[in-house]
């Protein structure tokens, strides 16, 4: 993984979050939630700063980041796509939907497209089993998705960007 240099501003931001939680090692998970919420992901360099501030080892921070699926060390695409792989969605065909997303975007689960527009992930049960199979793009939920609908869902965001950049 290429080294990144954190700006002074980013380091300051991380320090502030740690200070908000009293620089307590026991608040590590809360700190990680906050920092990921602000930066989008938790690269090694960010973990180093957190470890120093909370006075715990980097190994411990890394251990926690990699344990929980909610934390990510790679940046997500502009439009993160999550396919629900809960049982209800699985038996109603979410595997085929996932295969179609992989095919259309030419990426695997956990990867982003070259232009960083889309990233692909699986999640376990959104709790909208009545709409199975479910796909989320950002915060938006798509229900009863069939492989045939995948192309249009992706197009929605490609077009969305096109009009946005035009207007800008």
């Amino acid at each position: 993984m290429p080294k990144i240099k954190l700006s002074e501003k980013t380091i300051g931001l991380i320090k502030d979050v740690c200070a908000d939680f009293g620089n307590q090692g026991s608040e590590l998970i809360n700190v990680l939630h906050q920092v990921q919420g602000k930066l989008g992901y938790l690269p090694a360099e960010v973990q180093e700063v957190i470890a120093k501030e909370l006075n715990i080892s980097v190994a411990k921070v890394y251990g926690v980041v990699t344990f929980y699926s909610f934390f990510t060390m790679i940046p997500m695409g502009e439009f993160p796509i999550s396919i629900c792989m809960g049982t209800a969605c699985y038996v109603r065909g979410s595997e085929q939907v996932l295969a179609e997303f992989k095919r259309q975007l030419s990426i695997e689960v956990g990867q982003s497209t070259a232009d960083n527009k889309f990233s692909l992930n699986c999640l376990r049960c959104v709790g909208a089993c009545g709409l199975a199979p479910v796909v989320m793009v950002g915060e938006k939920v798509y229900g009863r998705v069939s492989p045939q609908m995948v192309k249009n869902i992706i197009a929605e965001y490609k077009e969305g960007c096109a009009t946005e950049s035009k207007s800008a």
Partner: protein
Amino acid sequence: MAEYNMHILVCGGTGCKASQSELIKTNFKTRLNEFGLTDEIQVVLTGCFGFCEKGPIVKILPDNTFYTQVTPEDVSEIVEEHIIKGRKVERLLYKDPETKAAIGDAKGMDFYKKQIRIALRNCGFINPENIEEYIGRDGYAALGTCLSEKTPDEVIQMIKDSGLRGRGGGGFPTGLKWDLTRKSESDQKYVVCNADEGDPGAFMDRSILEGDPHSVLEAMAICGYCIGADKGLVYIRAEYPLAIERLKIAINQAREYGLLGNDILGAGFNFDVEIRYGAGAFVCGEETALIHSMEGKRGEPTVKPPFPAEKGYNGKPTNVNNVETFANIPVIINKGAEWFASIGTANSKGTKVFALAGKINNVGLIEVPMGITLREIIYDIGGGIKDGREFKAVQTGGPSGGCLTKSFLDTPIDYDNLVAAGSMMGSGGMIVLDDTDCMVAIAKFYLEFTLDESCGKCAPCRIGNKRLHEILEKITVGDGKIEDLDRLRMLSTVIKDTSLCGLGQTSPNPVLSTLDHFYDEYLAHVTSHKCVAGQCKALMHYSIDAERCTGCTLCFRNCPVGAISGERRAPHYIDQSLCIKCGVCFEKCKFDAVLIA
């Protein structure tokens, strides 16, 4: 809810929200405003109604009209016809699936007839963001009774007498758990609510927190009073943003009303609640792992004893209960232990919430008395199998549970009967499977989940489940041998016996249960390389019926790998060495000439 003479309840559960229920609410408000009716008619965004299949749901009180699949565009018609002219909008009413007759009153719906709603009593009825609506429905009365009239021991005795057992999976008697924590001597104790609902396909805890958060807070305070704790923690999944938001609002309102904080109701009892966030780890549903996670560590379980009741969060006695368990408590106090114990079976009292999903007509959240049969759930409440297909099995207990077949359709459902049948209650996910679901693939699906979620601390779970998954993979691609079936069983038994925590000890259950009930299916995979359900692609064999084939070339043009050859207007042929079994030819053929074997 007295000052208004009509109420419009719009479902604000996650499913319906995804189908624009907020816009529906806004449209109602705008239209009512145009008619100057905002003082007479209240519009409320409620928690989940349970009937997710036909969402978004709009219910109108007092006449109990139940509108299904409402769109934001339908709002004007409902206001003009129903509200102004008093004529129900027939096309949006729920239709009886058999008689096709529109049902005007929700009480007449089969979906609700057999349900008894205790834990879900307020879901879909009150505005979860308004504490007064909860109080208006006897909310916080139970806390008041406990603080002013009962000693902690009397309350614990009541919970024991009610027969309430933990709704999160194991079914440990709740009253006994409270008693153990009460008896642990310490300067500090904790009440923890486990809202880390990780079972894929179960969403009852989320619906309770979204639809009725105060019921959980009230119960936690009662628990704190009983065990001698002044601090409560809710451990909730970060993936549940709506539930978190409503819980936060509820905590703040309860503090404002003096129902949380210092000297609650003037009784000298202090109790406050904080939220802790999970970060996506199924194993954190296990008590000890959950406690480690709250302490900011990796959520790895530790050996019990010591139980959390002796040594839990920060080394202090901690009582952990699940959301649904807590939601039952205030009702038990208000209506009495005897009343609660009168519902259910000998050893399983009260009701259970199930998330009904999969190949069933009425997907949704239901609450039924213990002892109900699967047949009643699937056919009376669930409306039968989707697309009129044949019932094959129902999976309960998620990745720790097993499958119940046709022969269990008339078994009364309770904790003990499910275990006897080789499954378990779990948190209450019920996934209905039909004849197109391959049981080997289902077992493999759950193993994949366990593999992902195993914390890796103990070898049987980390390595054993990996091997189990490899064997299942082999079987589904047609490389399985008959010896593999014995190997599956032996390995499963070892993993069950030697794993450290509940996750590993139950992870082979989906394999064992499908081996027991669907041995023939496994056998067909390994001996004749056939998948009767037609799900395991590698075992499919596509061919073209020369008599039916008209030589239209549609399959030839659509085959992604060029495996099909043949002249126009002459029968086509599939080269088996090239075929990747994608099934496109089968889908495209208009003459049913492509055969699958």
